[in-house]
């Protein structure tokens, strides 16, 4: 019999499989600990003290949120409460949400909880994408809160007869097929006024999450020319 080579030895490959799998798993778990720390939801005092979190606390709904170019990072980032000019949030400028900009941490958390539950129970993700994951039958909702259609220059406030973004969105979510803009309509999902409020809070909160610049060039019809 010819001399055996380690490369054709089953034991060798079995051990390699075990070691490599173990190594990859340990690395994944280690990175998971780091990532968990970085994506844990922030608090109200983070916002008050100007601490930037990848996932801000629920009371971010009290602030003005925009999505602007950061020269440092080379792409757009969520800006909370005003821009320092370099693409960093100032956490100062407030914005009323359903008439108030003093939602307490408890109230805001409860609202976000209701909205997140609603997003699952009403199955938003099987038509829309959230953070880019889900279904492709309807627009991505990652930055829906910032969509020009909901703003003062868009058509949705006039169409729903409301004066603010949040009220227009809530009205739409309760009766989507009453305000169609395309032949592919969103159906009525039996969303109540309270649930709609929660869902809008959920959408506003999601727009404040730092998604590393996805989607790129959001809301800039001029397109890629302005991108980096």
């Amino acid at each position: 019999m010819a001399k055996k080579s380690v490369w054709s030895d089953n034991r060798f490959w079995q051990r390699s499989a075990a070691w490599i799998t173990g190594f990859a798993s340990v690395l994944l778990i280690w990175l998971t600990f780091d990532t968990m720390a970085q994506i844990t939801i922030g608090t109200d005092s983070d916002l008050k003290n100007g601490v930037t979190k990848r996932v801000p606390g629920p009371t971010v709904i009290n602030y003005k949120i925009t999505y602007e170019m950061s020269s440092k990072r080379g792409h757009e980032v969520p800006i909370i409460g005003g821009n320092d000019g370099q693409g960093m949030s100032l956490f100062q400028e407030k914005e009323k949400f359903f008439g108030r900009d003093d939602w307490s941490e408890e109230e805001a958390t409860e609202l976000l909880h209701l909205g997140k539950l609603g997003s699952q129970v009403k199955n938003c993700m099987n038509c829309h994408t959230l953070l880019g994951n889900g279904a492709y039958y309807a627009p991505d909702l990652t930055k829906a809160w910032l969509d020009p259609q909901w703003g003062p220059d868009g058509s949705m406030q006039a169409m729903t007869g409301k004066n603010t973004k949040e009220e227009a969105m809530a009205e739409f979510l309760q009766n989507p097929s009453k305000y169609p803009t395309h032949s592919r309509m969103m159906p009525n999902l039996g969303i109540t006024a309270e649930e709609a409020k929660g869902l809008v809070a959920f959408l506003k909160h999601m727009s404040s999450i730092d998604t590393n610049g996805f989607p790129r060039n959001f809301g800039k019809i001029e397109g890629a020319v302005h991108g980096k």
Partner: protein, 477 residues
């Protein structure tokens, strides 16, 4: 080793396997029907509007997909265990009971999806209607049931593997199935934090399809090569260990390709890009492995002057070869297309993803599981050499051709979406619909629907073949 792999008669484990396969085949049909409903809605948005909305049709489509595959995977293990271990599966009575529990739970879940559809925004709905998280929507009560069923299955596998002969294939399956079942737990909890939610959701989805399920397929292909061709076990099992090394080595950290844009830190760009770019390598290896073993065993036989094919089950082997190629094409090539962050920034969440999702699931899993069903038909009917029939040839052609056509259509649609909705219009609501209303996009949706109908015809013929081929005189008994 007991040489009973050509006959399932008398093995309770194999009988249970056929139950699992039958239920899986029925669900496969249901999957295609609901896919057709969703595809019609892309073309005619008024179709079943506010009766069976897109979200409901899609949920049924992808849940039926996951469930039929899990059923067929359990079935395939119950089929091969007696052959591999040389003994009857331990705990088969419990296995049979769990089958009925599992099947009944699935029927209840489907009825609730169909007739209740949505609830109010509270925990009760999560417990009893659905969880609204792609692929693993099953309500929490069903989650708990699934855990019990999976534990029972894994216990049977372990007890049998430890009592009987523990081959390399069985060892790989034991390690793999425990990870497969354990990962499901990552998808069972609720959190208000959508980033956290998706982080753990991918542990289930990605670590299933790009790690544990792939390794499972490697083990199944190894079994198929041994039973259908008579390939040498030692060589086949060595390949299997190499595949496990490469699959887990790239697939586990390759998960980073889902962590580019969901709120997670930037280092996932590098980690995801590097490891997921390596993921196609084992798929190439698996493809070569199947063709190599085929050529080698045939060559050995030819050298003895026997002018007959070494393949003992033609339809099953056709599906196994399609698996080797489809896995490489759908997961390897179509996956690689969009796995680098520079590309994924624009393709993320477009029809392009759907093109890849379809071809990968079909190529990597549907194919080999259909092949296993043919092996079971051969076994239960005591057939020595199983040949193609007209319907087996037509069904494989229509299913595969339909899937390729659908993939091309979705890829074109994805291309339009990337250019118009993403690169140019920046992913707004208006930009989204500018892309959707483009002529190329609209035509692609028509083609996808047409190809879906082709696939459905292929399925009908497959079902007919499953029901009739066992008694067909073309086979050698």
């Amino acid at each position: 080793m007991a040489n009973n792999h050509l006959t399932g008669i008398g093995s309770e484990s194999k009988e249970l396997a056929t139950w699992y396969f039958t239920f899986a085949a029925i669900l496969f049909g249901a999957q295609l029907l609901f896919g057709l409903v969703a595809a019609i809605q892309y073309v005619m948005p008024g179709f079943l509007f506010e009766v069976l909305d897109f979200s409901v049709a899609r949920m049924l489509h992808i849940n039926a997909l996951v469930v039929w595959m899990v059923f067929a995977m359990f079935g395939a293990v119950y089929w091969l265990l007696p052959d591999e271990t040389g003994i009857e599966t331990v705990g088969i009575k419990i296995g049979k009971l769990l089958f009925w529990v599992f099947a009944a739970a699935i029927v209840v879940v489907v009825l609730v999806y169909l007739f209740i559809q949505v609830g109010s925004a509270d925990e009760m709905s999560i417990w009893f209607i659905h969880e609204g998280r792609e692929y693993i929507e099953a309500p929490r009560w069903a989650d708990l049931g699934i855990v019990v069923v999976a534990l029972g299955f894994v216990a049977n596998l372990f007890l049998t593997g430890m009592k009987g002969k523990q081959t390399g294939i069985v060892t790989v399956l034991m390690a793999d199935m425990i990870a497969f079942a354990g990962l499901y737990l990552c998808g069972m909890f609720f959190t208000d934090n959508i980033s956290m939610d998706q982080y753990w959701w991918w542990w289930v989805i990605h670590l299933w399809v790009e790690a544990t399920w792939e390794v499972y397929v490697g083990a199944l292909a190894a079994y198929g090569l041994i039973t259908m061709l008579g390939a040498h076990r030692k060589v086949v099992e060595m390949w299997l260990w190499i595949e496990v090394t490469m699959l887990f080595g790239s697939g586990i950290l390759g998960m980073g390709h889902h962590y580019f844009w969901i709120g997670t830190p930037e280092y996932w760009w590098e980690i995801g890009a590097l490891f997921s770019a390596l993921e196609p390598l084992p798929l190439v290896a698996m493809f070569i492995h199947v063709l190599y073993d085929w050529g080698k065993t045939q060559g050995e036989q030819d050298a003895q002057g026997l002018e007959v094919s070494v393949i003992r089950n033609k339809p099953a082997f056709t599906w196994f070869v399609l698996n080797a190629f489809g896995n490489f094409l759908g997961a390897g090539i179509w996956g690689f297309f969009h796995t680098l962050p520079q590309v994924n920034l624009y393709t993320h969440g477009t029809q392009f993803t759907s093109a890849h999702g379809h071809l990968a699931f079909f190529g990597a899993y549907a194919t080999i599981l259909i092949g296993m069903m043919y092996i079971a038909i051969q076994g239960t009917n005591g057939i020595k050499v199983m040949n193609h029939t007209r319907s087996s040839i037509w069904s494989v052609s229509l299913l595969t051709g339909g899937m390729m056509g659908m993939t091309v259509a979705l890829t074109v649609a994805g291309y339009v979406q990337v250019l118009v909705s993403r690169a140019q219009m920046g992913a707004t609501w208006a930009g989204y619909f500018d892309g959707q209303s483009g002529m190329w996009f609209a035509q692609a949706m028509d083609w996808r629907l047409l190809m879906g109908v082709v696939m459905f015809l292929g399925f009908a013929l497959l079902a007919k073949d499953f029901l009739t081929t066992g008694k067909n005189p073309v086979h050698q008994r």
